[in-house]
Symmetry: C2
């Protein structure tokens, strides 16, 4: 997808998105570690260009103490990270509810299914039942390859774990059943054309 | 809606939901302050009974410091609340993306529209454009009355603010254009039948 000069600035000034302080420019060499950043940037592009409205859910944090005792109630002084009860991303695209999780592995030959929490798998099962577009974006960081895999396939392999004792999906399988998402400069990880192909045809 | 004995326990043990430590039982007298709790309990019921999958998004928190210096990296020692860029609740219902915000006011006669952040209004406009079911649940706490108001109506009145300088919607208007959500014992705030009526007919 092409966009006119100046749009890049427009994207990073979208008010609905909090901008990270760190720079968004990164070379191919460290791209593997920045899957979340790639997805967030892509979603900003989609949001800004009215293609879709998809957001990352904030990490749930249990706040224990607030304030420093000097009347400041805006600073959290004690809190804990909580585990997520759903997937990381959701929103709306082409009138449909869209829901996905992003995972990366340094492993070259297999993707460990234990990367998914049990309740994330159950969440995916539920939303599919209600008509969602649901998938996972899986990156093999050392290969610098990112695949979109339908959640129905993930769930199939996850549920087989109990009987086969095989707690992973091979790179070969993911390459076969998934779709490679091209890494690009302008739209980092342009996954919606693949969603079009897999879910709207 | 009726449900068999024992279901209440089943609901509160749903693993996908973090249970709050505070008791969920509360009398009519303090119901007004517990809109969020009422909605969360209702969503748990819907989720548990496969009616819909709707979750509250966690409050975004910017983590500044983690760990107490003794090798503990699970405790957050400094963080700040961030403002939300979207609405509080979203999910899927009857194949549709559903998105809403909950607000309460102690005011008896008017609902201040400044309760909505500008970016929440813009978010609602966007998701409506993409085909979402979008609304607000508004509670007048002193009246103990809760209304479901379509976001298109909220947006209409919000956008009028600039010209009319009227920064609120009257109770009378909300009573007219909204739908009263009955407060019940079993399903606290059974709002989906109203969604059926307003968005699926």
């Amino acid at each position: 997808m092409k966009y006119p000069a100046g749009i890049k600035n427009k994207i990073t000034s979208v008010p609905v998105e909090k901008l990270e302080k760190k720079s968004y420019s990164h070379s191919h060499s460290n791209r593997g570690m920045l899957l979340e950043e790639d997805i967030n940037e892509t979603n900003k592009f989609y949001n800004c260009h009215d293609v879709a409205v998809i957001h990352k859910k904030p990490t749930p944090i249990q706040v224990v103490n607030v304030g420093n005792g000097k009347g400041d109630y805006s600073t959290i002084t004690k809190a804990f990270f909580q585990s997520k009860s759903t997937t990381d991303y959701n929103g709306i695209y082409r009138n449909k509810y869209i829901d996905f999780e992003a995972k990366e592995t340094k492993n070259k030959t297999t993707f460990p299914l234990t990367n998914f929490h049990e309740h994330q798998i159950r969440h995916m099962e539920k939303v599919i039942k209600h008509g969602a577009i649901c998938f996972a974006i899986i990156r093999f960081t050392t290969r610098n390859e990112t695949y979109l895999v339908k959640s129905s396939d993930i769930i199939f392999h996850y549920n087989k774990m109990d009987t086969t004792k095989k707690k992973s999906m091979s790179y070969k399988t993911i390459k076969e059943i998934g779709e490679l998402i091209p890494l690009q400069f302008k739209i980092r990880l342009d996954y919606l054309p693949i969603v079009d192909k897999l879910f709207f045809n």
